[in-house]
Amino acid sequence: MKVRVGVYICSCGTNISDNIEIDQLVQFSSSLENVGYVKLNSLLCSEDGKNYLAEDIIKEKPDRVVIVACTPKEHEKTFRNVLQRAGLNPYLFQMVNIREQVAWVTDDKNKATEKAKSYIRAAVKRVTLHEPLEKKEIDCNPDALVIGAGPAGMEAAHMLAKAGRKVYLVEKNSFIGGRVARYEDVFPKMECASCMLEPKMDEILHDENIELLLNSEIQEVLGFLGNFVVRINKKAGFVDNEKCIGCGACYEQCPVKVKNEFDYNLSDRKAIYVPYTGALPNVPVIDKKTCLRFEGQNTGPQKEAFEAGLITREEYERFKNQDCKLCKEACMFDAINYEDTDEILERNVGGIIAATGFELFDPSVLPQYGYGKIPEVYTSLEFERILAQTGPTGGKLLTKNAKEPESVAIIHCIGSRDKDYKDYCSSVCCLYALKFAHMIEKHSPEVKVYDIYADWCVPGKDNQAFLDSIKEWKNIEFIHTTLPMNVVSKMKGEKIDLHCIDISEKKRKVSADMVVLCPAMIPGKDTAKLSELLLIPQGREGFFAEGHTKLAPVSTNIEGVFIAGCAQGPKDIQNSVAQGAAAAGQALSILVPGRKLELDVMTAEIDEKVCAECMICVGLCPYKAIVIDKEKRVAVVNTVLCKGCGTCVAACPSGSAKSWHFTTEQIFAEIEEVLK
Amino acid sequence: MKKRITIDPITRLEGHGKIEIFLDDRGDVEKAYFQVPELRGFEVFSVGRPAEEMPRITPKICGVCPTTHHICSTKALDDLFKVEPPPAAKKLRELMYSAFMLEDHNLHFFFLGGPDFVVGPSAPPAERNILGVIAKVGLEIAGKVIKLRRECRDVITLMGGRVIHPVCGLPGGMSKPLAEDDRLKIVGVAKNGVEFAQFALKIFDDVVLKNKEYVDLVLGDTYKHTTYYMGMVDKNNKVNFYDGDVRVVTPEGKEFARFRPGEYLNHIAERVEPWSYMKFPYLKNVGWKGFVDGKDSGVYRVAPLARLNVADGMATPLAQAEYERMFTTLGGKPAHNTLAFHWARLVEALYAAERMLELAQDKGITDPHIRNIPTAIPDEGIGIVEAPRGTLIHHYKTDKNGIITEANLIVATVNNAAAICMSIEKAARGLIKGGKVSDGLLNMVEMAFRAYDPCFACATHTLPGKMALSVQIRNSNGDIMQTISRE
């Protein structure tokens, strides 16, 4: 059937007509097949240019429009809107760029004119093959799911809840607060960590928009932006948090004594326990691995505790394979229920925020520091617990055998900034090392502190002052080494001798009673598993890969999945909280209740009559937008996730994949015409 | 006045063929030319191809005997990659190849050669076809022929993936082992084949040997050429289609040469004639004396009769008995009677069936170890097998990455090219006297020509069964005097 094309040529003032024979173009265009009319205009993109265009299209009623002007990158959208206004489908239009890519760059006028003609011929042929495309949209679920209840996760959950969204906050542990819950003070203000967190945690616990899912991990994530279905594996806690008032009667009775992971095994806990006094929510949980009713019976920790002399033989014998109900009997509020089981919960959300925090690099890999062999060598997190009042020593600086140390050595950059281990700087170790020094100065000023550092990383408005302020303290000695890697610690009687080479190549030896290592921050244990579930890639060092290092730090390649805090990379609390807010902001901006999600129109589509499920395309899609329909045994493009890059269409060996608005036929036509 | 007879085109050829017969002033045959007007350049476009793809390229030379090219090409690759296939692989190849020879030979007799004898050389053309054969020997036999064909071709499909262009051959072995239940099925087919091959020989006896007129025709001088013969023999000089040395005997039957495949170039050379795309091989050490036979002409013949002339006997008992019976009837070795090709073909078919049965009953053939992976750097490889229509040679050269740099193929029928020309000319000369062209001429020319079962005469599959020829006889200034054609 005949297609009637209207061609509009813009002289762009004189920008185009200066270097191209415009009248030749008019004459040439009208000679082309399918061209109904050709109109010349001096400035189509101006207001009256656009009005003229709209009115003319309404008058002429062309089937297709070709606009010969400037770069589509500038005005394709403008003219599409004009077409929309004039009642013509905006995709029945092709633009020809004869300004930036012909007139302005070709000195020979007739050659420029020839080139312009070939582009017009190609555009007219291509536009006849264009098909009308309708804007597509889906309604979206405004609710969100946050993984990890650390500072970043709590901030995100809080902001979303305050905006009226339903938030599911999934936390692996039985308490919220993440790593920061373990700290006594935080730099630079030396503020008390729990005083800082408690208000936020309190709001989280009492906000009815937030459903807190503790002892829970993500099992499966299905769906896409606006329509995620998340399956959560909630492990049994055996204590009903509605009834329990946190009085603690139950855990006094429990005969089991095991190492408390919260204090990095520096203290003990019972089988039914609260990780630290003041943990929130203040509800104990029964640890199945050690409780005598469950796996802990006659093997495992109970045996270890007896062999370690923590409990007597008689106690050990007494509770072997007996139906121990001590905690339940002690509970006055009947809050303990042994029949509690793990359950799989399913939640529908529009967006997901992963704020799963960090781990510390394991220093035992570097034998020179003696971690794991020399008892008095601690990691920074272990030292945080020693200094914490809720910690194993009640905040007093004591060695493992409860003696006050005369001197403490702090070594920076353990495993950091080294191409064989972690080649990046974790940006916070210098600061918390100084914090330790400040705390020692405050609580045990007589202790001598050796700070063995390579470089100072103290960015931010307060942190240089924070460093300078400790310098006056007489009991601190800074040792500037070039490479912290070659500090060697050796047991010398009771003391630990630290051999290092300082900046002036001189050999130095200091001896200290306790050594604190500041290891690199690495991604959390479950980051790899989660990256697979969320289909978001891990960056070079294993942290979640952000959408763009500069412009999209909290989004990812999967629309609707955001990342925040140390899960995205090492950072301090301030930045983690900021990223939590940023991720929440992004989610709020996309998932507006009632508003529909507008989708890309120029996406790919697979014809199930031709697709043979050969699996070439599925793995190619960076957005995981192609899935297999198990019944029909064909590949299907999820147009919500598809960005229209066309990689799958070019690769599809059976030609069943089609890329709207950039179909193979359209491009073939352009190639043939442009070479005529 | 000069006359010229053109038989163009000869139908029922694999590919295209043309015969030109020139008469002298007395109307006798002065010269006959057999032209092949077609060429596809396989050797040239093999250059640049990976060597291991050749067993899937060369079968497209001929859809009638693709299995031959597939096996020969695979053997050339064994040589090229210096890799010895495991015993089970060799047995599988020979088993598949025997099934092919059995099917192809029997088809040739019943659908092509048969009509000339079963129905009689001078019978009207309309009868001289499979329908005529069925009428004579009965529908039940025809059914048996079709059944044998399908069963043998199913064996090849089972082992090679497909019967038209099988794919299982690889340097150092085969792509797929044989399952036990399939082996049992093949044993059944082989038994049926042996029985059928004996029956075919009985028919030949009743129909041909008991008929004096045919015997005279067979033994007569019209269909006789005293030429050299070439064929492959195993280490005890018995006929072997799959492997062995190439042996050449003189017209008197004395061993003239015996060579490994690798030395073929010392013995065979090819002439070129401007009037045919096909080349004409001859024995280099005897020399090219033109289209003549005899001791000092390098023209040699291949295919069934040649193989039996060259060998000291058949490797299987039943076939050996038939071998002896044939030569005693023909008056000793070597037999020069072209029509005896038919008889020799049936003896070979019996051998193929017996060999197929032997291999199928060999328990070791289902051994899963059917491949040795080559490790040597390839450079040159030559493979030879005996095709139904004669000795087939594949010769490849490659770079060290195994990419073909040169390929030389001497295709079975080509070896008989010169002989075919001579047979046609001799038959024509014996029949056309004084410009008088009798109706039997067409059939007699066919018999001379068809005995060789030339590859392009894949008339093995004639259903309505007749060799369509049209002969235009022109007077010396070229205008057509008479046209005799076969309806």
Binding site: K609, P653, G655 | S276
Partner: protein, 323 residues
């Protein structure tokens, strides 16, 4: 009413398609009763003048196999077109050029030079070449002109339907014959086979991983071939994904990879280029030299990707080639 007239003809063919017709075995008898053969060089008397004597379109359907290589073949193909209602391109050579189509990487000059000058077993001292016209003592002998390029049937005459395959499997032939006899035919130009690629029915498809990747290519003779796993997954080049379905995976079931004899689906214009795109896309390397190392390990991409379809490809043949 009179039985429909049917013609079979072969151009630059190997005779395999003739065998495929006879392989219909018992079914061929049914066909023989239903139709009247006017031309079948393998089996029947053939006279140019008989075909010329027929009215235009008198032949119901002509099945033509083999590609076009000489003027004589082109002449007869054009004649049959004139005389036939329907023309069916039968088999890979007529449909997409077939394996002999690989000759389009060379030309007449190179072929003649090797066959009649350079081949090792040649004895041609006075450099004789076959001539279209040769005058001998007794008269003049002619040979048809040998073209520089192999053409598919539809590059020489208008073709109504295509029966793909080297050679077409018996079931496809029977379906085609029945469709023609009963008259319920798909639109003109259709390839009479499914329009999905081979993976659709391939038993090895279930072994394919979610993300198809190839780290290293292997040639079939270099490794033992796993009879269960998808070939591409073993690093073996198999043209299945870019080849039309319908052959019953006869090569793959013989544990050898597909070489694409059914041609591409209707949605692809150049089978070789499309397969290259799919294969290259799943190479598991992102750095320039790593990619180069892996692509260089693919032996003869043009020969393998255009194993059957060079004449039907967009470029059809090699550009100007010197000797």
């Amino acid at each position: 009413m009179a039985k429909p007239k049917v013609a079979f003809y072969w151009c630059a063919s190997c005779g395999g398609c003739e065998e495929a017709v006879v392989d219909l075995a018992e079914n061929i008898l049914k066909v023989v009763e239903a139709v009247e053969f006017v031309l079948w060089p393998v089996a029947m008397d053939f006279k140019i003048k008989d075909v010329e004597a027929l009215q235009d379109g008198e032949i119901a359907v002509s099945f033509i196999n083999g590609s076009i290589r000489t003027r004589e073949q082109e002449h007869i193909a054009k004649l049959l077109r004139k005389k036939s209602g329907l023309v069916v391109a039968f088999g890979a050579c007529a449909h997409i050029g077939g394996t002999p189509g690989l000759a389009n990487f060379s030309n007449r000059e190179i072929i003649f030079d090797y066959v009649y000058q350079k081949s090792p077993s040649l004895d041609n001292p006075n450099k004789i070449f076959p001539q279209e016209k040769t005058t001998v003592k007794e008269g003049e002998l002619t040979l048809p002109k040998f073209y520089n390029t192999v053409f598919t049937l539809d590059q020489v005459i208008d073709v109504d339907y295509y029966l793909p395959g080297c050679a077409p499997p018996p079931d496809l032939i029977m379906n085609a014959v029945e469709a023609i006899l009963t008259g319920n035919l798909p639109p003109k130009g259709t390839v009479l086979a499914p329009d999905k690629s081979l993976c659709d029915t391939c038993k090895r498809k279930i072994t394919k991983p979610e993300k198809a990747v190839i780290k290293q290519f292997r040639r079939v003779h270099e490794v033992l071939l796993d009879p269960e796993k998808c070939f591409l997954d073993q690093g073996i080049i198999c043209l299945g994904p870019a080849t039309r379905d319908g052959c019953g995976e006869r090569c793959i079931n013989a544990n050898m990879p597909c070489r694409g004899c059914f041609g591409s689906t209707s949605r692809v214009e150049d089978q070789g280029a499309k397969f290259l795109s799919a294969l290259a896309s799943i190479i598991d390397a992102d750095s320039e030299e790593e990619i180069k190392k892996i692509t260089d390990s693919i032996a003869d991409p043009a020969g393998i990707f255009y194993f059957y379809s060079l004449p039907a490809s967009m470029l059809r043949r090699k550009f100007r080639t010197e000797l």
